[in-house]
């Protein structure tokens, strides 16, 4: 049987560009996609997955090689060409217009629907209903997209492609924005699609998902295909090793530890956003010495504001925050930092780094005004550089030198700069927000190790992550945030991931902890 899609000898080089932006892609092995198959494309960030898919989607032109569809050589020069040949892409960030209805979004750009000069909404809506029945994609065509939960918005994206009669569907990191339950639903949809004869390329760096859904797995590293395997012959460790190029320990080594004195105490705190909506609703939380408290929750349930209040970036409307016995409710960030607190911010590029500044200056961003980095008014660049060289070595930051602008570093190394800066200070409390988002397996492993090490040294750690695996592996205690409230707070013992996932979707702990089967509730966001 001829495969539906074949990429032969594709190469794409980016001469003169720093390697961590665009890796040169040299496909040493053909990519073959059979009809009705789910092919997982696994690789770290910057391995070349996106470059490859952008070539397939017509955004880049390959230097060499050819693309065959059903055995016929074709030329794809733009996304329009790609759609015409039956290739569709579900982007990581949805391409939907929030104030339009589902129908309007789906028919957007599909000129054939014009009836005279009028848009034929009804016909389009009917087709959408047809598609949604065939593929089990429940949506209401007349809903406004902005009212829909993220998981449903993603369905609209899929319908858009089916509406244009796509035969090959590319999913680019589709689970990044979903709860575990929503992700499972998506896998169900992908399964249905493939059973109905659609072919799917699934791009990801999450091992669990690959094993759950793929028919075949292709691993890419540094622009080359390094392995092809079937899920039944692989496990997480072997895939991770293939991806990174060395053995990786996925399980965090963590010993039991008695927790010590109270370090951070949040008492009945209320935080409002700039529109005066209450986004953190009477939250109380304690963090002790030598323990990691993980805050689980789908993004946008008040975690960002909670962190803002604890670090002094946002003033709470009510309640009290105490750090090491000192009231810091109204303190500014610098005072909180000086009290022995460290903060790994959620948005590392916007908050944690000054991108055009050299690595050395970023490594003293919170301390440059103090001795020994300043004497009187004058900055001591000798000391700042010594500090930088020491930390670059200690934390294995890959940079040409300490004077390179931090914007030239890869995402993982940028995060290492922040981790190095924050953890190298004598701290008693660490707040880490999404510390490994978007990082590759190697960096994740490293950062997890460092966080656990700090906890073992007696530091109190508050970990905020929408990555449930991370919460489960690192935390000694878990608090679940849902719509601004901590609906659960329990020791991380004998709890399953599914149960925590349910609580993230708003199911109360008493129900979630007794639940055994898959629930029938629609997760809300």
């Amino acid at each position: 049987m001829t495969p539906i899609l074949q990429l032969k000898g594709i190469t794409k080089q980016f001469p003169g560009v720093l390697a961590n932006d665009h890796i040169d892609l040299i496909l040493n092995k053909d990519l073959i996609l059979n009809k009705g198959e789910v092919l997982a494309l696994l690789g770290e960030n910057g391995a070349g997955k996106s470059t490859l898919m952008n070539i397939l989607y017509g955004l880049y032109q390959p230097d060499e090689g050819e693309i065959l569809i059903n055995g016929k050589k074709i030329l794809i020069e733009s996304p329009t060409d790609a759609i015409k040949t039956g290739i569709g892409m579900v982007h990581q960030h949805f391409m939907l217009i929030p104030v339009f209805t589902v129908t309007e979004n789906v028919m957007l750009g599909e000129e054939s629907l014009r009836f005279g000069d009028f848009l034929d909404r009804q016909a389009a809506a009917n087709r959408i209903l047809d598609i949604s029945q065939t593929y089990n994609l429940q949506v209401n065509p007349n809903d406004l997209v902005k009212d829909l939960p993220v998981g449903v918005q993603q369905r609209v994206e899929i319908i858009k492609l089916l509406f244009r009669e796509a035969e090959i569907l590319i999913f680019d990191e589709p689970t990044a924005v979903l709860t575990p339950q929503e992700a499972d639903e998506l896998f169900g949809i992908m399964r249905t699609l493939s059973e109905q004869g659609k072919s799917i390329i699934f791009i990801t760096h999450k091992l669990r998902e690959v094993l759950a859904i793929a028919d075949r797995i292709m691993v890419i590293r540094r622009g080359k295909v390094v392995g092809e395997t079937l899920p039944e012959n692989a496990d997480k460790n072997s895939l991770a090793a293939m991806m990174v190029g060395r053995a990786v320990s996925l399980e965090v080594e963590k010993t039991e530890k008695e927790r010590g004195d109270l370090v951070l105490s949040i008492d009945n705190m209320v935080v409002a956003d700039k529109f005066q909506n209450i986004v953190v609703d009477h939250v109380s939380l304690d963090v002790h010495e030598g323990e990691i408290v993980g805050i689980a929750g789908v993004q946008g349930n008040g975690q960002t504001e909670l962190v803002g209040a604890v670090t002094g970036l946002k003033k709470p409307a009510e309640g009290k925050i105490t750090l090491l016995g000192e009231d810091i409710t109204k303190a500014n960030p610098r005072k909180i930092t000086e009290a022995g607190s460290a903060h790994v911010p959620e948005d590392r590029q916007a908050d944690g780094l000054v991108l055009p500044f050299p690595v050395a200056e970023n490594l003293v961003l919170c301390t440059y005004y103090q001795e020994p980095f300043s004497k009187g008014l004058v900055l001591q660049y000798g000391k700042i550089l010594d500090n930088a060289n020491q930390l670059i070595e200690d934390f294995d930051i890959r940079t040409p030198d300490a004077l390179t602008p931090v914007s030239n570093l890869s995402g993982g190394n940028q995060q290492k700069v922040i981790i190095a800066r924050e953890l190298s200070r004598p701290i008693k409390f660490l707040i880490a927000s999404q510390p490994t988002r978007g990082l590759d397996v190697g960096s994740i492993e490293y950062i997890h190790k460092r966080i656990v090490q700090k906890r073992d040294e007696g530091c109190a750690v508050l970990l905020v992550s929408s990555e449930l695996d991370e919460i489960m592996e690192l935390s000694d205690r878990i608090a679940v945030m849902y719509r601004g409230e901590t609906i659960a707070d329990f020791p991380n013992k004998g709890v399953t991931k599914e149960q925590v996932g349910l609580m993230m979707a708003g199911v109360l702990p008493e129900d979630a902890l007794t639940e055994k089967e898959e629930p029938l509730v629609e997760p809300e966001l």
Binding site: G16, L18, T311, G312, L313, N332, P333, R334, K335, T337, H343, P345, A350, D351, G352, L353, V354, L355, P356, F357, P358, E361, L365, C366, Y368, Y369, S374, L377, V378, L379, Q380, Y381, G382, L385, L403, P405, S407, N408
Partner: protein, 421 residues
């Protein structure tokens, strides 16, 4: 090697990094656009010179070759007169030095000295804009701050009497800086407390400054017996910034004061924690907040310092050259300074170099007008083209097929537009 000298070396390395970054490719990356913009500006200027000359058209009527020849000779005459007018006549300079006549040497060198005189207010004004950009602020109000600075310097210059020069001159000079600082502080304060954008507010403050000085000069500060002419009294001799030579050579101490301030601004921005505060707030206000800096405070400081430098530009003109204040004080220094800062990559050294270039162009243009009868406006056009090409570097990159550079600190300009909030 001992610790001290090692630190010194590191500091030197960082300086290099700040200006150009160490590798050759990086140096080229920083200077290529301004340099090519200047070259392109001069080439387009040449075309304009030929295209606006009657001689060229007449020659073309005779024959094509004649037309081409005349075009080149016109361009040559124009640029040669510009060169001799702004740098000096090389033959005359050599002869003067070989004759050893001090007066002759001085007058042979006068063109270049005059260019430096012209460059002096540009340096102050350019530093003002550059410092603003580094702090994430787009100060378009340099012209207004310059007028207020000049008015303050003038007032202290004529109203305070009986002080020795060593005190009076610096006092009047700093009064100018203080006036400008106040005028810059107001939009800075408005931005920090209300979020009102400094681009709008500084432009409006310009108008207020112009009308205010007009009123001052025709009212409270008017010269007795001027008959209502808007001109101030002449400042005391003790307040004057000394000129080094006799008239007509106007070269004065202000040029060296300007260089001193360029060094001071460099030192402040790149060597002190205050400077790092300003640059951090200017480059990434969110990270600045995260690091515990007060964005509000640093915005106000940034605008006040920028305004202060602009005020000094006004003060130096009054105290060194005009000795009294009239309305035709500035030939648009405040607006040209934006171009200077951009061409100089918002670095004090770059500002000094671009100011000297602009001073030279200005000075040469006068001579060009006299000798080659080319309108002085051609220099405005050349300056405008250079500015356009520097501000929109994509044009130069397309024209000369340069590669897009990595993000560098020049992006400060962009955040200046967005208000950096």
């Amino acid at each position: 090697m001992n610790k001290k000298s090692e630190e010194k070396q590191n500091a030197g390395k960082l300086l290099l990094e700040e200006i150009n970054q160490p590798k050759k490719r990086r140096i080229w990356g920083v200077i290529s656009v301004p340099l090519l913009a200047i070259v392109t500006g001069v080439i387009i200027g040449a075309i304009l010179i030929a295209a606006t000359s009657n001689n060229v058209y007449e020659a073309f009527d005779e024959s094509f070759l004649n037309g081409i020849g005349t075009s080149f000779s016109e361009i040559f005459i124009a640029y040669r007169s510009m060169f001799t007018g702004s740098i000096g006549d090389p033959v005359r300079i050599v002869n003067a030095f070989s004759s050893g006549d001090a007066r002759e040497i001085r007058s042979a060198l006068n063109p270049i000295l005059e260019s430096l005189v012209q460059a002096t207010p540009y340096i102050f004004a350019g530093l003002a804009v550059a410092l603003g950009f580094r702090a994430g602020l787009f100060n378009i109000g340099v012209e207004g701050q310059l007028f207020i600075g000049a008015a303050c310097a003038t007032y202290v210059g004529y109203a305070v009497k009986g002080l020795p020069g060593i005190i009076h001159m610096p006092l009047a000079f700093l009064a100018g800086g203080l006036g400008g600082a106040l005028w810059g502080f107001i939009p800075g304060f408005l931005k920090a407390t209300t979020g009102g954008h400094e681009v709008i507010n500084t432009i409006m403050m310009n108008y207020i400054a112009f009308r205010l000085t007009e009123w001052l000069l025709s009212g409270p500060m008017t010269r007795p017996g001027s008959g209502g002419m808007p001109i101030s009294p002449i400042i005391e001799e003790s307040a004057q910034i000394p000129q080094f030579f006799q008239t007509p050579i106007r070269f004065h101490l202000g040029f060296f004061i300007a260089l001193g301030f360029a060094w001071l601004v460099w030192w402040l921005l790149f060597k002190t924690k205050w400077g790092l505060n300003l640059r951090t707030v200017g480059t990434n206000p969110r990270a600045a907040k995260y690091a515990g800096l007060s964005v509000v405070k640093n915005t106000m400081i940034g605008m006040a310092l920028s305004g202060g430098l602009a005020g000094l530009a006004g003060a130096v003109q009054i105290l060194a050259l005009n000795h009294s204040m009239a309305l035709g004080l500035s030939s648009g220094y405040g607006f040209d300074s934006i171009a200077l800062a951009l061409i100089g990559n918002n670095h004090p050294l770059g500002v000094v170099l671009s100011s000297i270039l602009f001073g030279t162009l200005r000075n040469g243009a006068t001579r060009m007008m006299v000798i080659a009868r080319i309108p002085i406006d051609i220099v405005d056009v050349i300056q405008a083209i250079i500015l356009m090409l520097v501000a929109a570097p994509a044009i130069i990159r397309t024209l000369y097929r340069l590669r897009e550079p990595k993000q560098e600190e020049t992006t400060v300009f962009v955040s200046g537009w967005g208000g950096g909030q």
